[in-house]
């Protein structure tokens, strides 16, 4: 293995997410998941909608696939938030 240097704690400002999701997660669906009741505004989380998700400094635009028994499944899109921001209902909220 070839170690690459990094500095833990080099935090950058990341925009507020619609849903805090650790994008490592998976369940039987094969998709990342989160609890609906942990969303800052659960009303924003609806199947078919694109939302901003992530945790720490990690961010992604993701499609909400379904909500079952309070579990939200989502499909994160490849590419940066900036690349996919046009899919959000209000892309301008990401503007700094």
């Amino acid at each position: 293995m070839n170690p690459k240097t990094h500095r833990r704690g080099d935090h950058v400002t990341a925009p507020q997410v619609d849903l805090i999701v650790d994008l490592n997660t998976m369940d039987d669906t094969g998709l990342p998941w989160a609890f609906l009741d942990e969303a800052p505004d659960p009303a924003r989380i609806r199947p078919g909608r694109y939302v901003l998700v992530g945790s720490g400094v990690t961010r992604a635009i993701a499609l909400i696939v379904d909500i079952t028994d309070g579990i939200v499944h989502l499909r994160p899109l490849h590419g940066s938030v900036r690349t996919n921001a046009h899919l959000l209902d209000d892309p301008n909220r990401l503007a700094c």
């Binding site: 490592n24 997660t25 998941w33 945790s55």
Partner: protein, 152 residues
């Protein structure tokens, strides 16, 4: 003659029995040559805590904390993970299975290959501190598209 009711059969067919809330463990064990466990690193220790708590809330009958990760057998598979499941992470934390096991963590093959759950019991803060102390390498993910990358 009046048919006799088979109460056991009736009970089994008519009562909804709640499934235990446990993660699905694959029948196939981890391959012997699965030497690495890879986890996207978001530079926030609170993420691991939050995920371990969410995992335990969802799979409460399993009695363990859990963190999602993926196994890899070689650098090429780490590369594959970086370009696909873990593409959103700029950094990848790479652990050796043997080092995690030595520190008392279990590696369970859960859900879909190559997903694994790093499982543990005990005090959450203590165990997360122990996980942070496990020797690991943090690699820059060359497939991650940073917000500074010019738009394609």
């Amino acid at each position: 003659m009046e048919p006799r009711l088979d109460h056991r059969r009736y009970a089994a067919s008519s009562l909804a029995v709640a499934e235990p809330s446990v993660p699905r463990v694959r029948r196939a064990p981890l391959p012997d040559d699965a030497i690495l466990v890879i986890r996207g690193d978001d530079l926030d220790p609170a993420t691991s805590r939050r995920q371990a708590e969410a995992f335990r809330r969802r799979f409460s009958d399993w009695g363990r904390w859990g963190l999602s990760a993926f196994y890899a057998r070689n650098d090429a598979e780490v590369d594959d993970l970086g370009s696909d499941q873990l593409e959103r992470f700029s950094l990848l934390g790479c652990y050796r299975v043997v080092d995690l096991q030595k520190a008392g963590f279990e590696i369970w093959p859960t859900f879909r290959t190559p997903h694994v759950t790093i499982a543990f019991t005990g005090d959450l803060d203590d165990r997360l501190a122990a996980l942070a102390d496990v020797a690991h390498e943090v690699r820059v993910n060359p497939y991650h598209e940073s917000e500074d990358t010019p738009k394609r």
